[in-house]
C-alpha cells in the first residue's frame, strides 16, 4: 500500500505546531498502525529528520498508552480497538490519513502526537481507590457476598484502560466516561460503599478542576471507547453524585 500521511508535528509544548505531509510506500495490510509509524520513523531517521513522537507501550490493547486521532476518530475507524490493535487493512491503497494528537485543554501536547494525560492520574488519586487494611488480617474475599450481576457490571467498568479516547472524541472534551467507570467499579461493590460519598464528590471536583468539559450525552465516547465502557456508568455516576451532594 502507498499512503499519504498528514501528521501533526509540534516540537514542544510551546511550539505552534502544524500538519506535515509524508509519503510512505510498501505498507503491508497486516501491519499494525503503530508498526506503520515505526517504518515511517525509520525512514525519517535515515534521512536525518526528527522521528514522529507518539505514545505506546504494551501494543496489545491493555495499557492505554497509545492514542492518536486518526481520520477524525480516536484510535481510528475500527471499533473496540486501541491504535496498536488497528491494522492497515482498514485503509486502502492511495488513502490519505490524518493523524492528530488527542486534543483537549486538559491533555496538553508534550511533543508531536504525545499528550500529557496525567489529569486522569490526579482524578484517580482524588478517590479512585478503596482503603483496605493489608497488614495480614485481610478478610477472605469469598466471605463478602456479591451478586453475579453486580460483579459483571463492576468488571465491565474496571476494564477502562484510561486511554482518554472518551475525552478526545467528545465534542466537549468531557472526561465523564472515564470518571464514571472508575466511580462505578467501586460503587457496584460492597467494598466501595464506605468511601462512596467522598469518592464521587472528590473525583468529580478534580475532573472539573482539570478543565474537562461538560457531558451533553452525545454518546461519542461510548462508541469510540476501545473497551466499550457503557453510558450506563455516567448515569450511575450522576445518581451517585446527586445522592452524595444531598448527603453533604
Amino acid at each position: 500500500m502507498n499512503l499519504t500521511l498528514k501528521i501533526w508535528r509540534q516540537k514542544n509544548a510551546n511550539d505552534k505546531g502544524k500538519m506535515v505531509d509524508y509519503q510512505i510506500s510498501d505498507v503491508s495490510p497486516d501491519m499494525s498502525f503503530l508498526e506503520m509509524l515505526d517504518v515511517l520513523n525509520n525512514q525519517l531517521i535515515e534521512k536525518g529528520d526528527s522521528p514522529v513522537a507518539f505514545d505506546h507501550d504494551c501494543r496489545e490493547g491493555i495499557c492505554g498508552m497509545c492514542s492518536l486521532y486518526i481520520n477524525g476518530e480516536a484510535h481510528g475507524p475500527d471499533r473496540r480497538v486501541t491504535t496498536c490493535q488497528l491494522h492497515m487493512r482498514m485503509f486502502k491503497d492511495g488513502d490519505t490519513i490524518h493523524i492528530e494528537p488527542f486534543r483537549a485543554k486538559a491533555f496538553p501536547i508534550i511533543k508531536d502526537l504525545v499528550v500529557d494525560r496525567s489529569a486522569f492520574d490526579r482524578v484517580q488519586h482524588a478517590g479512585g481507590f478503596i482503603s483496605v487494611n493489608t497488614s495480614g488480617n485481610t478478610q477472605d474475599a469469598n466471605s463478602i457476598p456479591i451478586s453475579k450481576h453486580a460483579a459483571d457490571k463492576a468488571m465491565d467498568a474496571a476494564t477502562c484502560i484510561g486511554c482518554g479516547a472518551c475525552v478526545a472524541s467528545c465534542k466537549n472534551s468531557s472526561a465523564m466516561l472515564f470518571v464514571s467507570a472508575k466511580v462505578s467499579q467501586y460503587a457496584l461493590l460492597p467494598q466501595g460503599q464506605v468511601e462512596a460519598t467522598d469518592r464521587v464528590l472528590n473525583m468529580v471536583q478534580q475532573m472539573d478542576d482539570e478543565g474537562f468539559g461538560n457531558c451533553t450525552n452525545t454518546g461519542a465516547c461510548e462508541v469510540e471507547c476501545p473497551k466499550g465502557i457503557s453510558l450506563e456508568n455516567i448515569a450511575r455516576m450522576n445518581r451517585e453524585y446527586l445522592s452524595a451532594s444531598f448527603k453533604g
Binding site: K171, S173, T216, N217, T218, A220, L231, E232, L242
Partner: protein, 225 residues
C-alpha cells in the same frame, strides 16, 4: 449540597430538570392548541381560564418564564465552557461516525428555538400582557365574543409567519430528538426502561412539533383555500 450548581454534573442535572419541565409545558400547550382545530369554543374557554386564573398567571407563569430563561442561559454557559475545554480544533473530525447530528448541534437548534420564542412572545404574549395588565381588560372579549380563537387564526394568515413557525418546529423536533432522552440520562435514569423510553422520546420529539405544524397549516389553509 453546597456548590452543586457549580459542578459539571449539577449543571447537567439542572439543565435536565428545566428541560423536563419545559417538555411537560409543551405537551400542555399542544393539548390546548389542538382544541382550536376541533372546537373553537372549547379553545376559547380553556384559553380564558389559562389567561385569567390567578394560580396560573401569578404562580405558574413566573416559574415557566424562569424555566425558559434558565434553560437558555445555562445552555449558553455550558456551551462557552465546553468550547474552552478544547482550544485547538481537530483538522479532521468525523463526528458523524459516533454521534447524531442533533446531539452535536443542540446549541444551533436551541438558538433557532430562542429566535422563535422571541417571535412568539411578540405575536402572542406581549399583546396579551398589554390587554390584560396595561389596558386592564380581563374579560377576554372583543366585539361581544371571546377574542382568543380569532387572534390565533389572524396570526396564521401570513404565509411568511406560518413558514417561520413550521421551520421553528422542525428545529424543535431536532432539539427534542436528542434532548428528551438526554434529560433522562442526565438525571441518572439509564436502566431496563431506557430502550422503551428512547422509542417514546422519538414519538414525542416528532409528534408534538408535527402537531404544532399541523395546527399552523390548518388555520392558514382554512383562510386561503
Amino acid at each position: 449540597m453546597s456548590g452543586i450548581l457549580s459542578s459539571s454534573i449539577g449543571r447537567k442535572f439542572a439543565m435536565a430538570i428545566s428541560a423536563l419541565f419545559l417538555m411537560i409545558f409543551l405537551l400542555q400547550h399542544f393539548a390546548i392548541n389542538i382544541l382550536s382545530v376541533f372546537s373553537p369554543d372549547t379553545f376559547n374557554e380553556v384559553s380564558h381560564f389559562m389567561g385569567t386564573f390567578w394560580v396560573i398567571q401569578y404562580a405558574l407563569q413566573p416559574v415557566l418564564i424562569f424555566g425558559v430563561v434558565f434553560h437558555f442561559v445555562m445552555g449558553f454557559v455550558l456551551e462557552i465552557k465546553n468550547t474552552k475545554a478544547r482550544q485547538i480544533k481537530y483538522a479532521v473530525n468525523n463526528g458523524g461516525a459516533n454521534s447524531s447530528w442533533m446531539s452535536r448541534n443542540m446549541i444551533w437548534s436551541g438558538l433557532a428555538i430562542l429566535a422563535f420564542v422571541v417571535l412568539h412572545f411578540i405575536d402572542f404574549w406581549i399583546p396579551e400582557i398589554n390587554i390584560k395588565y396595561i389596558q386592564g381588560d380581563m374579560s377576554g372579549m372583543h366585539n361581544g365574543e371571546f377574542r382568543y380563537f380569532h387572534e390565533l387564526v389572524e396570526k396564521f394568515h401570513s404565509p411568511l409567519r406560518v413558514g417561520a413557525y413550521c421551520l421553528a418546529f422542525v428545529f424543535l423536533a431536532l432539539h427534542l430528538l436528542h434532548g428528551f432522552e438526554s434529560a433522562f440520562q442526565s438525571v441518572g435514569a439509564n436502566n431496563k426502561y431506557t430502550k422503551g423510553l428512547k422509542n417514546f422520546s422519538k414519538i414525542y420529539a416528532i409528534g408534538i412539533p408535527a402537531g404544532f405544524i399541523f395546527i399552523a397549516l390548518f388555520h392558514h389553509l382554512n383562510q386561503v383555500l
